[in-house]
Symmetry: C2
Subunit: 517 residues, 2 copies
C-alpha cells in the first residue's frame, strides 16, 4: 500500500508554502481564502453585539474592526515574529463563554454617568482580552508552549485535527437548512468544480471555492429578483445594506475607539481571569491547527520553535484586538486550512495578499457591504466541504500509526469519542439537556479554575487532545515506531524545513508544482 | 510503516472466530458480552413502554421478552441461515421513529371494547414489524442486498464504521454525567484493566469489560449502602426490584401474548409502510456492522453471500420479534463489536454461550432483576470505551486507502462531516433546534417516501454511507488501487474465508492465539 502510494501519487498542492504565484493571481487567490472565513468572522460580532444590544451603526463598525484586525494579525503571523505557516488569523468562538460572563457582570454592576451600557461592556471585554493577552505572549515566546510538542504523537494529533473539523457539526447542515435549494446547488458546484472540472481546467483547479460561492450567490440573486426566495430567508440578498454603507471610512483603524477601560474596575480583573480559559482553549486549538496546516500544505511537521512563535504572535494579535476593541481575540482559522486542501494553494504570498485585502475591505465600506450579503446557506455549504477536509487531513496522520495495535486503537477511539460526547454534555449550545457545572458558589479561586475547566470541556478538540496526550504518554503496549513517532520526528526537524524552503525557493515566480489529476 | 507493522504486531485477537474456548470459560465470556448490550436493550422497552403508559408488570414482561428474543435471533444468525459472524442481535433504535408514528395513529383512532389502549398499540406495532419483516427476508435471501457490496470500497467503509460508534455521542458522556464519581471509577478501571493489567494477567486480558462493570457496580453498592449516593441518582441500586421479581416465569416465550392484531385495521397497514423506513436504516447499519465485526475480529472481509444471509437472518429475527411482540425489531449490536476489540475474544462459541444465557436469564426472573440494577453511569462509561473502539476500527480501514490523494480526502471528509451534521439538523433528540421535515400533508405516497427519507437523514452512518457511496462511485481522480479496492477484494473472497476457517479449525479446544502484549 505504501509503495503503491509512492508510485501513484504526487501530492495535491500546486502552489506550496514558499511558492510565488504572480501577484494578480495571488490577489485573486487571496480573496478566495478571504471569502471562506467571511461567514464565521461576521458571525462573532453578530453574536457578541447582539448580546450587548449594540445599535446598528456601531455593529457595522464592530464588524469592520474585526476584519481589519484579522488582516493585521495575519501579517504579523507571516512576519519573523510569527511561524510563517499559511494560516489566516481571525476571531475565535473560544472567547464567547468568558465574554458572556463579563457582559453579565457589567450589566449587574450597571453604569454611572451617561455612557450607554454597551459601551462600558465593550471597554471591559476588550480590556480583559488585552490584559490577558500578556500570558499568551509570554508563554509563547519563552518557548513554554513549544514543550507541549514533546508530548504529542501521530496517535494524538490524528483525532485532534479531525475533531477541529468534526466538532463544528452544529454549524454545517443547520446553516444549509436555511435554504436547501441554494445549499444543494452550492455544494454540488463545489463537488463538480473541485473534483471533476478541475481535471480539465486550471481556473477550476485553483478557484473551486470562489466559483462555488459565486454560483450559490448568483442563484440567491436570481431567487431574490424573481421573488422565489422570501425576504425572511437567509438566502435573500438585502441590497439596502449596500446602499447604506459609506464609500470610505477610517474609523475601524482607531485604537480605543469606544474609550479606554477603567483599570480600577473590579469586574475588569475578574474578566481577565475568566478570559484565560478562552486563551487556553484557543491555544490548544491553534497548536492543532498548525499541524493541520502543515500537513494539508504538504510541508514538514511544525517544529517546537514554530509552535512557540506562532502562539506568541497570536498573543500579540490578541493584544491588538483588545486595543482596536473587536470584543474578541484572534486565533488560527480552520476554514482556511480546509480551503488549502480544496484549492491546492498553500502559498504564503496568497495569504499575504488575502491579509492586504482584509485591510482594504473594511475601509472601503461599500465593498464590505457587498460581501456581507453572502448568503448563509452558501457559507454553510462551504463549511461542510472545508470542515470535512480538515477532518480527513487529520485522519491521514494515522497512516504513520500502527492501526493493528489494540492499544493505539483504544486511545484513538476513546479520545475521539470523548471529544464529541463530552462537549455535548457541557455545552448548552449543542444539546437541549447539556448541564454546565455551576462553579459560581465555590469561592473565587475555584470559580476561576472551574471556568477554565468548563471552557476545555466544551471544546471538542481540547478534550480529544488532553485525553489522547494523557493516555498516549502513560499507557504501555506500543513501541515508538508503532506510535508513529520515529518517522514523524525526522519530519519535524529544522533540517527538514530548510530542505523544503530551499526546494520552494528554487521555484520560479508563477511556477506551479506538477500534480497528477 | 507497513513493513514495520508486519514485523512488530501479531494482532490483538486471542480467540478468533472459529476458536473454541472451553465451555466454562466460554459461558463467562458470553456473560461479559451480554452485559455490554444490557444497557441499550433495557432502554428500548423503557422508551416504547413509557410512551404507551405500560403498567409496571407489563413493562417487566416486555423487557424479559426482548431479551429472550435477542437470544433466539443471535442463535439464528449463528446457524447456517445466518452469516456466522460473531454478532449479537438485539433491539434497534432505528425502529423508534416509525413506532412512535404508529402509537400516535392508534391513539388517534381510539379503542372500541374493553381492551386497554396500550394493548392495541402493542398489537399494531408488533404486527407492522412482523408484516414488514417479509421485505427484509426477501431482499436478504434473494441476494439483492449483497449487491450493495459492489459499490463499497475502503474509502466508504472507513468513515461509515467510524460513524456507527461516533454517532452515539449523545449517550456517552450524558450517561456518565448521571454520576461522575462512579463513571470515572468505571472508566479508569476499564483503562487500567484492558491496557495495563492485561499485560500481567490472563484474567484481566480476557475480562476487562466484565471486571470494570463489576468495579463500578461495587462502588455503586458501597455508595448506596453508605448513603453517599442519593436514591434519586442513576447510580443508586434498588434492591426492592430484586425482591419483587419472580423466580421462574415462562411467559416471555409465548407468541402473541398480548393478542393477535386485527388484519383489517387501516392503521396497521399504514404502520407497515412507515416501518419500512426503520428497516432500511437498520439494514444499512447492519451491513456496516458486518464489516466492523469482521475487521475487529481480524477475519477476512465479509462476502456478498454473508451480507445477504446476515440480512435475511435479521429479517427472520424481526418476524420472530413481531410474533413474540417485543414492539421492536432486531439488528446487530454495535456495543458487542466494540467489546470484541477490548476483550480480544471473537469466538462464535462465546457468542452462542451468551445467547444461551439470554434465553435463560429472562426465565429466571431474579437473575434478570439483579442485572437490571446495572447503574446508568457504569453503562455510560462502557459505551465511551466500546463506541470509541468501533470508531477507531472503522478508521483502521483507511490504511488501505491512499490518503495523499485529495479526491479520497474530500470524499472521506465530506461524508464523515455530513454524518454528524445532517442528523443534528433533522433529529430532535440531538438538537434543540432540529427541524424534521413535515411530510404528513404531502399525500400518502409522498408521506411514506418522506418518512423513509427522514429515517435516513437522522441516522448518521446511513448519511455517511450514502454520501460516500455516491461520491466514491461517481467522482474521478483515483485508481482502484488508490481507493484500496485491490487489496480489499482479495480479502473478501470465499477462498480467504475457507483459508481462515481451516486455520481456526486447526486450533485445539481451549487453545489461545499468541499475541504480543
Amino acid at each position: 500500500m505504501n509503495e503503491s502510494q509512492g508510485k501513484e501519487h504526487s501530492g495535491w498542492i500546486v502552489y506550496p508554502i514558499g511558492s510565488r504565484p504572480k501577484w494578480p493571481l495571488a490577489v485573486l487567490l487571496g480573496i478566495q481564502q478571504y471569502m471562506t472565513m467571511f461567514g464565521a468572522t461576521v458571525l462573532i460580532p453578530f453574536i457578541v453585539g447582539g448580546a450587548m444590544g449594540l445599535p446598528q451603526e456601531q455593529l457595522a463598525l464592530l464588524i469592520s474592526t474585526i476584519f481589519f484586525t484579522s488582516g493585521i494579525c495575519t501579517l504579523i503571523q507571516q512576519s519573523p515574529l510569527g511561524n510563517r505557516l499559511p494560516v489566516i488569523q481571525g476571531g475565535t468562538f473560544a472567547f464567547l463563554g468568558p465574554t458572556f460572563a463579563i457582559l453579565g457582570m457589567v450589566a449587574a454592576k450597571g453604569v454611572t454617568g451617561d455612557m450607554p451600557l454597551w459601551q462600558l461592556q465593550i471597554q471591559e471585554v476588550a480590556g480583559a482580552i488585552m490584559i490577558a493577552s500578556v500570558v499568551e505572549i509570554v508563554l509563547g515566546y519563552t518557548g513554554v508552549l513549544g514543550y507541549v510538542k514533546r508530548l504529542i504523537s501521530p496517535v494524538v494529533i490524528g483525532p485532534t485535527i479531525a475533531m477541529i473539523g468534526l466538532a463544528l457539526f452544529n454549524i454545517g447542515a443547520p446553516w444549509m437548512a436555511t435554504n436547501w435549494i441554494i445549499s444543494l446547488i452550492t455544494i454540488l458546484a463545489l463537488v463538480l468544480y473541485s473534483q471533476v472540472f478541475s481535471h480539465q481546467s486550471k481556473v477550476f483547479l485553483l478557484f473551486p471555492v470562489l466559483l462555488a460561492i459565486l454560483t450559490g450567490w448568483l442563484f440567491s440573486l436570481l431567487g431574490t429578483l424573481t421573488g422565489l426566495i422570501s425576504p425572511d430567508n437567509a438566502a435573500y440578498l438585502k441590497p439596502d445594506l449596500i446602499f447604506a454603507a459609506p464609500w470610505i471610512s477610517f474609523t475601524p483603524m482607531l485604537p480605543f475607539k469606544w474609550g479606554f477601560p477603567s483599570l480600577a474596575s473590579s469586574t475588569l480583573w475578574a474578566g481577565v481571569f475568566g478570559m484565560l480559559a478562552g486563551y487556553l482553549a484557543s491555544m490548544i486549538e491553534s497548536i492543532g491547527d498548525y499541524y493541520a496546516c502543515a500537513r494539508i500544505s504538504e510541508a514538514p511537521v511544525p517544529t517546537e520553535r514554530m509552535i512557540s512563535r506562532g502562539l506568541g504572535a497570536e498573543g500579540i494579535g490578541c493584544l491588538i484586538a483588545g486595543i482596536l476593541q473587536t470584543c474578541n481575540g484572534t486565533t488560527t482559522y480552520s476554514e482556511n486550512i480546509g480551503s488549502i486542501g480544496l484549492t491546492r494553494v498553500a502559498s504564503r504570498r496568497v495569504i499575504i495578499a488575502g491579509a492586504l485585502a482584509m485591510l482594504v475591505i473594511p475601509i472601503v465600506g461599500k465593498f464590505g457591504a457587498v460581501l456581507s450579503t453572502l448568503p448563509k446557506p452558501v457559507v454553510g455549504s462551504m463549511f461542510v466541504g472545508l470542515f470535512g477536509m480538515i477532518a480527513s487531513v487529520g485522519l491521514s496522520n494515522l497512516q504513520q500509526v500502527n492501526m493493528n495495535n489494540s492499544r493505539n486503537l483504544f486511545i484513538i477511539g476513546l479520545s475521539f469519542f470523548a471529544g464529541l460526547s463530552v462537549p455535548y454534555q457541557f455545552n448548552p449550545m449543542l444539546s437541549p439537556e447539556a448541564m454546565p457545572i455551576d462553579w459560581s458558589s465555590a469561592g473565587s479561586f475555584i470559580e476561576v479554575l472551574g471556568n477554565i475547566f468548563q471552557a476545555i470541556l466544551t471544546t471538542g478538540m481540547a478534550v480529544t487532545a488532553i485525553v489522547g496526550i494523557l493516555m498516549d504518554n502513560l499507557l504501555p503496549g506500543a513501541t515508538r515506531a508503532e506510535r508513529g513517532l520515529e518517522a514523524w520526528e525526522q519530519e519535524a526537524s529544522d533540517e527538514a524545513w530548510q530542505e523544503a524552503e530551499a526546494k520552494w525557493a528554487a521555484m520560479k515566480e508563477g511556477e506551479m508544482r506538477p500534480v497528477e489529476l
